[in-house]
Symmetry: C2
Subunit: 240 residues, 2 copies
């Protein structure tokens, strides 16, 4: 019998360097809301999404490539940018054929860490593209790191739940000796029929719901509403 590839869950970016991620596919997970928005924009026909950490970089790249610039602080569009972080802002009639330049802090930071550590491939994952991620991971037959972007390195439930959802789907195809993965999958199994209620207990819910984003957050834990696979290629996230 062939040896199955290994799967690990990294529940905070600070724990990434414990693992050897060369020869691994790294799934960047930032459920509220960066990777949910990335999947949605690409699903609705964006030609690419460029994830950036800094607002100034976002403005510069936006001007250079003629893209839509996006980013929020405290629930409002950042001054100098055009759109916010909500997936609901990117229907087909707005985004089709366009480049989206998206400022995200936690997700972009983890993506750059994974690049620097030599990941062989980087994709982004969120509930709206759960099945696309799972299908790709099984088909690729390579080692997998499920990378939670967390919140300023603090563990968050929603990213961990997504890792659990992936594991729940694909565990039979992998060797999993990883308590973070076991914890994530147990938590997901326990809460999967109760997600809209459970996420109301998270720290992130309390941070964002104050800005009236309840519908956004419920969308971000709904599976397969934007089922494409964003892959990172030379600075861009694209669907191949």
């Amino acid at each position: 019998m062939l040896k199955k590839p290994a799967l690990h869950t990294v529940i905070s970016p600070k724990l990434l360097d414990i693992y050897d991620i060369s020869n691994s596919i790294v799934v960047i997970i930032d459920v509220f809301r960066a990777t949910s928005t990335i999947a949605t924009a690409l699903y609705n026909g964006a030609s690419r999404v460029i994830p950036v950490a800094e607002v100034n970089t976002c403005i510069q790249i936006g001007q250079k490539v003629g893209g839509i610039t996006a980013g929020e602080r405290d629930g409002k569009v950042i001054e100098g940018l055009e759109h916010g972080n909500s997936p609901a802002e990117y229907p087909r009639n707005i985004i089709e054929g366009k480049t989206l330049v998206l400022t995200t802090t936690n997700g972009t930071r983890l993506l750059h860490m994974a690049l620097k550590s030599g990941a062989s491939e980087i994709v982004t994952g969120s509930f709206p593209n759960l099945s696309a991620v799972c299908d790709h991971l099984v088909k690729s037959n390579k080692n997998v790191i499920l990378g939670c972007s967390a919140w300023k390195d603090r563990v968050n439930i929603e990213d961990t739940l997504f890792a659990g959802a992936v594991i729940n789907e694909i565990e039979s195809a992998f060797t999993i000796h990883c308590d973070s993965s076991l914890m994530a999958s147990e938590l997901y199994r326990q809460q999967k029929n109760n997600m809209n209620s459970f996420i109301r207990k998270t720290t992130h819910w309390h941070r964002l719901a104050a800005y009236g984003l309840e519908k956004d957050l419920e969308y971000c834990v709904s599976p397969d509403l934007a089922n494409v696979l964003p892959i990172y290629r030379n600075g861009d996230l694209v669907v191949e």
Copy 2:
């Protein structure tokens, strides 16, 4: 209404420095098996336990203070030491009135990190002394960090479960805005009537059960069998 103190769970030592732990009580958790053995030795009358990281230090201190030296690698007593890491090795007729010098890697490292970061008090926690820890934390009315020793910085289930057990008992006395704590308490609630079976899924179980330590591990998830509070004072863990 007075503001309740804050409680956070740190599920890997690598995440400790995210938190300001000055003015906090830090609970060092190393369920398999260091903190379970510490509680047991003190419960059975040890005058103190000196936790050390290195084998040589263990031997030197053991000679200096006339203590019992203890430590294991791969399920065997380390050459030059007298006892192993099992709580079962420390009944009253062996340990009463004695000093135990115990080598532990993950737990001792976290304890020293907490000291260096200015924790106002350090205690050790494990299922055998669950209630003593909970009673102390509620009575102290100070901020709390539940510090999981983990395994070479990798998250482990058993330490997280103990954090969850503590939270389950005392959450009404604390302000808890911490997804790690929410995750730990949900996991504990889900598994609390199923512990002996659930721990068989953990990576640590697979590591230790190979050495025939099943009874040890089951003891280490049994509440209140050695219900004392080990407090760190100038290098020693003692019961006051």
